[in-house]
Amino acid sequence: MNADLVVFWVTAPLSVFAAVAMILSRNAVHAALWLIVNLFTLAVLFLVLGSPFLFVVQIIVYAGAIMVLFLFVIMLLGVDQQASLRETIRGQRWLAVVLGLGLVAEIFFAVRLGLGLSRGALPDFARVNEGGNIRALAEVLFGPYFFPFEVTSILLIVAAIGAMLHGRRRVQDEDVIDMPAAAE
């Protein structure tokens, strides 16, 4: 029994449990908190998989910034009351569950066909992470992935501007949307 196996078997059920709890919690704040738990477990798994950089990013950016944003919005809108979980669309629930199971099964078979379920020989990750994971990652990121990286920065700016514009109140526009003709 290796340490990583232990860690996996501890975090994996926890992460699944957190996910289930998230989708079942009636209160959005609770859901968000369960998601944070889930994100933390995944961060741990990143570490196990030899990616300390992503471990850190996951915690700071995801569990930190993004989830705070979520909570902000929840509080802003005041939707933290109890939500009904009663299904309104006929057949939605059992179809979703059956298809979900099907998806898992398919991926299971795919993985079994591809990698196999037993442990195989893995490449030496220490050589890949030579000079530290962050340095190695930076070399890849600013090497072959330089152009996509720059594009991503544009994406972020656009997203920020877009969100700002979207959030601005424009009285006339709201009237237009509420007009009966538009709703028809």
Binding site: V16, A32, L45, Y62, L77, A96, L122, A163
Partner: protein, 101 residues
Amino acid sequence: MRTPISFFLLLSAVLFTLGTLGVLLRRNALVIFMSIELQLNAVNLALVAFSRQWGNLNGQVLAFFSMVVAAAEVVVGLAIIVSLYRKRRSADVDEASLLRW
């Protein structure tokens, strides 16, 4: 490392499916959005696992990008949810069904 990579992939599959179920079964736009985040993270896990499997950093870089995109997406998505809520006083996606027929 003793844990088979396939375990991570299966965990990723389970989480992804749970995220999917969240999207399909919940009506609160915020929770749906969180479920989408869950799906993204499940995929990130798979990516990092691949990175480990093949011994290069492409998977991690991709996961990194996916986080960036997720951040952008969250920003825009939340803005949309906010304006949707402003119009309808509700975050129930079933009520926002203007684009039918």
